[in-house]
Symmetry: C2
């Protein structure tokens, strides 16, 4: 790509579709962010996407996401004025202007969050994120895996409230403190994580993940347009793997301590008739078990898709009777390194099992 | 007093005793802070006390306290290095140096907290506070009653963590957000509230409350020295009122959401034989009922004292069998104004009763 290009109007919907798939069930539904963006585009706004390699080493980049429980995010909607609040709090704290903005996580609505900030502040969005998917906790980033400092970070809200975490013993404490604030603010809140320099983005981010999301969404939309099989198209284009085909039989879901936690049980259809697939989630799908045996785990991207449309099904929209194909997509390689697994592997979620790659690498 | 004078070594113990009485059961035991101060004084430190009226209008004053549940404060001890953490975080945030430091609340260990900060930063302590006693919540101050802004405020901890609340919809939100952080940090944390100018201190603080605490403590110690009745001496010198004499029969106490909450039941002795006194607390004693009828309420300073020694008994040290005299001391008049009662009266603690002055004024 050239150093900077506009995101075209016909890329917005593929971006939303692709981000939702990469969300692994989390990151919040991108629908609301998509409607915001479409409205902005109707008003003449064009978001610019900048190649991370075109950033100067000392550019300072805002890193944004909405934190909280996805189910609550459905009730309290985001908009550009809300999204910029923690960014402005950090600019104020640091006495700087950000050169560009990027997503913490490309997955779900959080993949679109930087577009809302970019539109208001008139800065470009960096074609990168820090997860290559979505994860529930603030410290689960490629920046933390590289040992970068996770402060200062800011939390805002729909009222006149803002908090800056200025110092932290370690990345996990950033998560704990900001989650406590997020929870008291109503279990959903826009955040601006520790800003990154251009050098840090180039060295430590997951590069070109916005483009990956748009491409993934295009694959789905094109398959739909030709009445093909969107799920099969995704598996082929992304090198993914079909893990289970079934129908949602039971969902156990609770919003607690700022997260959406629970599990779902699918009864097999087609080739999986007679088998059961259970999937646990903490905002995102974490572990999938077939007849009691773990067959797919974080950090592989576990995605539950509507069998017909290929639309991702989030942990907050999962409901009885849906026909689902559960697939696994490869995660960015850094997440599966020992340093990566320490932060985002099954044990980081208190499971007493090792990462079980769904892909032979 | 002259503009600035040293606090003498023989004033430290009276300060601790007096602050503990003014704490109304809360503010945390001053014993730990007293030991810290005595140690500092042995090393040659002398804390300077500055007359609030000697402050320049544009002096900037740090306002400190330890936030949290007193029972936890007994387990995790304070020290000067800990106390200065949020003060340094605010200095860093604002890019200023504080001219002096004062207590949010003169009551309990929090009355001694500014001395620990003063010793380390080598600045004087202002002879004033913002409550004239102790209260459980951050917004319950004379500054809030005067409508002053309660941000920025900082929370620190024993690790490398610090949070700055930079914006707040209203004072109650400062309390909510900082309490959430305090709770996740372990239900006790040093804080630096919104700094005040010299002008604001002169206009809106409770003046000369450090001197009041020292004087009150002296009254107790002198009565003890002459084998007199310390409680009676306090009642006489402070214009207080004896509310009940009895023995602790039952204590219901729980540390929850960053507070120590509960109630105690005293069975009457001497003139109160046959009666029962029940007192509710949220860190501080809030409401006292004699045989079911409220006879004393916040903001009057409800103090449970050891009947013999006149030592205050905190809500965290109250235990079965103690012989207690419950007294009421007059609170600063501003707390009993309509604006004051809205923030610190019984209804501010969700009691469906009006303030019932223990003193005819």
């Amino acid at each position: 790509m050239t150093a900077e290009r506009p995101i075209e109007p016909d890329e917005l919907e593929p971006l939303a579709t692709g981000a939702w798939i990469l969300g692994a069930g989390g990151g919040g539904s991108p629908y609301d962010g998509y409607l915001n963006l479409r409205e902005l585009y109707r008003g003449g706004t064009r978001i610019r996407l900048i190649d991370p390699m075109a950033l100067a080493d000392d550019d300072l980049i805002a890193v944004v996401s909405t934190m909280g429980a996805p189910l609550v995010g459905q009730e309290r909607l985001t908009d550009p004025r809300l999204s910029i609040k923690p960014v402005l709090a950090l600019q104020d704290y640091l006495g700087v202007k950000f050169r560009a903005v990027m997503a913490v996580e490309i997955g779900g609505g959080n993949g679109l969050e930087p577009m809302l900030v970019a539109a208001t502040l008139d800065i470009p969005v960096v074609d990168a994120d820090a997860m290559g998917r979505a994860f529930p906790e603030a410290q689960m980033t490629s920046f933390a895996i590289h040992g970068l400092k996770m402060v200062p970070m800011a939390v805002g809200d729909i009222r006149g409230n803002a908090v800056v975490v200025t110092e932290a013993e370690n990345p996990k404490w950033v998560e704990r403190m900001s989650r406590a604030v997020c929870t008291v603010l109503g279990s959903t809140a826009p955040t601006a994580k520790a800003p990154r320099t251009g050098r840090e983005v180039k060295d430590c981010a997951i590069l070109y993940s916005v483009s990956r999301a748009i491409q993934l969404g295009r694959t789905v939309h094109e398959a739909r347009a030709r009445h093909g099989d969107p799920v099969a198209a995704v598996l082929e284009s992304e090198g993914g793997r079909l893990m289970f085909t079934g129908k949602v039989h039971d969902v156990d879901r609770r919003t607690t301590a700022g997260f959406l936690r629970g599990s779902a049980r699918l009864e097999g259809l087609d080739g999986d008739q007679g088998s059961v697939f259970e999937v646990d989630f903490q905002n995102e799908y974490l572990i999938g078990r077939r007849d009691g045996v773990p067959i797919v785990t974080v950090p592989d991207i576990i995605c539950l898709m509507d069998s017909e449309t290929g639309e991702a099904v989030g942990t907050e929209t999962l409901r009885y009777g849906q026909r689902i194909r559960a697939i696994a997509l490869p995660a960015p390689p850094i997440l599966a390194t020992p340093a990566g697994l320490a932060l985002v592997g099954p044990r980081a979620f208190n499971y007493d099992i090792d990462y079980r790659p769904a892909f032979s690498t």
